[in-house]
Assembly symmetry: none
Homo-oligomer: 197 residues x 4
């Protein structure tokens, strides 16, 4: 791997949690300089603009989350039930700063970008689309395999995502994992009652 790519990745690695914690408007290139030890020119060598860096940082954070999902699904094995529960557990990590400090990048970036940053908003949308697809597919497969009863997979995805993200918001606000844990527990009960056969 060429040196340039390495530096670029290094910058992203440092900028990603920063943007996740302080937001796009709240983070400055000076913050990134501090976090990386690089000078302005060094950063602009790898990114054309703060926007490009912000997008890359978001993609990095989202990549970390996606990796957790992949790993969770893999560990869960073939069972849609196990997979669905594993997927929920991944999100609970945000209460402990995992896999990235500052809470869920989807929530953070969605809330900041939905009224004025189309570029970032588009990326968040793609990420949430991916997440919804992932959940929908598990549900659809669960139904097909006779593990789940008939249900609207998209609706289930909405419910899971809504409940988890709202739970993240509360847990971050109160600096306590309790709310997120309750939200996850609620989801498990809900799925047990309404989806599992």
């Amino acid at each position: 791997m060429p040196k340039g790519q390495e530096t670029r990745d290094f910058i992203i690695t440092k900028a990603a949690p920063l943007f996740n914690e302080k937001g796009y408007s709240g983070s400055s290139i000076a913050d990134v300089m501090l976090a990386t030890g690089l000078k302005k020119g060094g950063i602009y060598n790898h990114f054309e603009s703060k926007d490009e860096l912000a997008v890359a940082a978001f993609e990095h954070n989202w990549g970390l989350l996606k990796a957790r999902y992949a790993q969770a699904l893999h560990t869960a094995g073939e069972s849609p039930t196990a997979q669905l529960f594993a997927a929920i557990d991944v999100h609970v990590g945000f209460a402990e700063g995992e896999p990235v400090v500052g809470g869920c990048p989807l929530l953070n970036t969605a809330v900041e970008s939905d009224d004025g940053h189309p570029l970032l908003r588009e990326r968040v949308r793609e990420a949430v689309d991916f997440w919804r697809d992932l959940l929908r597919n598990i549900v659809t497969r669960g139904i097909a395999q006779g593990e789940f009863c008939i249900a609207d997979a998209d609706e289930i995805a909405t419910i899971i995502i809504s409940t988890l993200e709202g739970g993240v918001m509360l847990s971050k606000l109160y600096h306590s994992p309790d709310h997120l844990l309750r939200a996850a527990a609620h989801l498990r009960t809900f799925l047990n009652d309404k989806l599992l056969l």
Copy 2:
């Protein structure tokens, strides 16, 4: 008669949706100047700092939401069941920019402030505390009056708030009320199944 108070209120009225849409860091005093037609000094005559204005704007938005809750509860009458459903319906309005454009100020402000703006965060916390109290009280009263079965009122509040706020996030992200409507529908079913006798 107090012209000063009128101007102060006028500024707040204009700044409140602005801050709700663009966030604290994303909004500048220049934006407020544009929105109000006042000059910098005219604004600083009424607010000591951007912080003070931001807090006032948040309180204004939260006041609008609180008023909706009061009205909804009043319209719902005495029944805890009716009140709980009415409370949920209030939040659905955010999908249509009601009672303030830019989505739920609690969600927006919580997400922006939880990693670095203690002043605002404190205010959001107080507001969410109020909301949780309101929901808890309805649940507690429902149990006492024999309308609800035994349940952890605080847990119910967490579930309702999480689901709604996550739904607002999704609906804002997709510019569509669907997700929020689904989240609300889910809550109604959940409450019917698990809380109502």
Copy 3:
């Protein structure tokens, strides 16, 4: 005395030490508001501009100093020797914040105004002219009355003023009366040796 004049005097009384301590550029109308409890309009009712107020404040401080001189000379009686020594003693008071906090207004205002505030500079010059006159007159009278030997009265005045003002500067800088006391002692010895018969 009309109410207006009273208020004007009150403002001056409060502004005078403020300007003496913080200087013309370093003091703001807001400072004067704070010191007086009046609002902007209340101050501008009595002074057309900050300049006018600054001049009035300087004149007030200078008036306090002049009064000390008058009193000292009066107490000293007719003897030019006693008068000269009394005049020196007056200035020593500045080490203790007397008759105005912030040091000698002549020194302060001269140093700030000599490179850019002609209005104030003119006033300081008049004040120092007065002081020089006072000293010269004592010397001249002392010579005429045979108490002093022949000397250049203007030169004597320059030496006294220079030494005292430099002493004030040092004592203010070191927050200690020592330097000013030494300067005054030096002047007394000098006069005893060189002027007194």
Copy 4:
């Protein structure tokens, strides 16, 4: 080669007389922009704050003065008497804008900073300490070498500094070197009479 250092020095060179003439409060970054031809950012690339620039400017002015002292002492040779008289002569230059326009930076900065700018005040104090040391050392050496009679060296330093600085104030106020020249002449006579054997 270090362009940055050059620019920094250039800024200081231009800002130093400006601050000496108009004072810290009386000088603005805009003034420095005008004096240097640089833009705001260009200045802030080299100084973290106006304070830092002000301190640098003071140190520059003080450096010029110190250099004059060094040169004067060197030219004067070994004799304490010659050195003492040379040191006095250095200060007389301020009447002609030498080595820096705007008068003595020690006097100017002391008078402005003693009631509210601790950072600058500290620097002035160090500078005056240096000057006092220099004078004290000459006196002490003069006594040791039998050129001077027994005397309190610190007292002599106070008298010399007070008289010169007061003289500078008067000469600046009257835009005439006369007062400072008289003050210096007085010092020479005083030293001849009281110190020299």
